[in-house]
Amino acid sequence: MTVTTSQGIAAGSSPGDAVGAIGAAAAIMRRELSLSFRRPEHLVQPLVFFLIITTLFPLGLSLQLSQLRDMAPGVLWGAALLSSLLSLDALFKSDADDGTLEQLALSGQGLTVIVIAKTVAHWLVTGAALVLASPLVATALDIPASAFALMMSSLVLGTLTLSWLGAIGAALTVGLKRGNVLISLIVLPLAMPLLIFGASATERAISGTSAAGPLYLLAALCVLATTLAPFAASAALKISLD
């Protein structure tokens, strides 16, 4: 089958062939996930970091087991946030380095769809993995199993919000050489409320009181981030691509 471009011009793509936003998002997510799984060592790093930090604190503070439970929510959440931050740099960097980010920007699908697809895929391999690993870490920190459901719900909301905030930070710093430190500087101040509410929700779950308040606030922050962050991140990408 010979390929000539005149064929393409005459035939073009019929409207029925056109790819909608959902189809494009699915294609981008498939690509992100397959690329991530081809480099499993990169996937494991945030998880290992998570485990290491959560053992560092009890070791360093040489706490009695009873005191450990008091510190547990804060340590867990701090570790989760820092581990998620580690991998945020990679969200756009690899595509920017080899030039495929420009190709994505010129694909006609709109940067917002691209940002959403990449961020959700990124969360699936980092944040979601952290949430799944959290019971293990929680046991090491003496958090009772009864608190797990609430703890994991709060972590889902928190890590997702952090991925959105991280997308903004990554998009702003994608062209920079030492962007890693700067992303943390940008994202952490905005993420401090997550730490506060998340740790509070976990603490209440441990003590048995209602965690509804902090959870609702976490959910509100998550909704806010999900609706606004894609636009901010795509505006930031436009600036970086300029």
Binding site: V3, G12, Q103
Partner: protein, 205 residues
């Protein structure tokens, strides 16, 4: 295909006033070469023409309308090849093409393989692109341009890393594209020898 027209654009890179009042028009069936010394702004001109860089002054128009107003249509008819081949190293050549095309329409594997054959890298279809040589990567990038079936091509130094056979192949592809009603804006450092009349735009530093 509508025409691309660039109307007196000014682009600054940091402090440098890189493009000063550059204008040109590109209609279907035309080939335009962009020439100039290093640092003259050839790549920047291409990026401004496809909308990646917004000019501080002046306008880029597609079919008479500013590209910001007709962005979707414009991008659907555009294929841009940057100086870097822009391929994911961990994906095979075929996967790279498949992804690029799947963002615009349903991709047909047979057609994509044919494009790779046309540019001489059919045998590399199932190889991860990080394993390919620079010349082979360039050919895969060109295969992608073919596969997108776009009437307007913006190519930044497409002949880089190509051997004599490859250059002849690219010249033939360009000739076919332009005589078939497409348009191409090509940055090059030497005479294209495409065999058809080509306009020339010289950029001074």
């Amino acid at each position: 295909m509508d025409g691309l027209s660039v109307d007196k654009i000014h682009v600054w890179r940091g402090e440098r006033h890189l493009l000063r009042g550059v204008s040109f028009a590109l209609a279907p069936g035309q080939l335009l070469e962009v020439r100039g010394p290093n640092g003259a702004g050839k790549s920047t001109l291409l990026r401004a023409a496809c909308g990646l860089t917004r000019p501080e002054q002046g306008e880029v128009r597609w079919g008479g309308k500013p590209i910001a107003a007709v962005r979707q249509e414009f991008l659907a008819q555009l294929a841009y090849a940057a100086h870097e081949p822009a391929l994911k190293g961990d994906m095979t050549a075929l996967e790279n093409l498949h992804f690029a095309v799947s963002l615009r329409r349903r991709a047909d594997a047979a057609e994509l393989e044919a494009c790779l054959e046309r540019t001489g890298v059919g045998s590399c279809a199932e190889l991860a692109t990080r394993l390919l040589s620079a010349g082979q990567r360039r050919r895969v990038a060109l295969a992608r341009v073919l596969a997108l079936r776009a009437p307007l091509w913006l190519l930044d130094e497409p002949f880089a890393n190509l051997d004599a056979v490859g250059s002849a192949m690219l010249a033939a592809i360009l000739r076919e594209h332009v005589t078939g009603g497409g348009a191409a804006l090509v940055v090059a450092h030497h005479d294209l020898a495409v065999g058809i009349e080509a306009g020339r735009l010289e950029l001074a530093p």
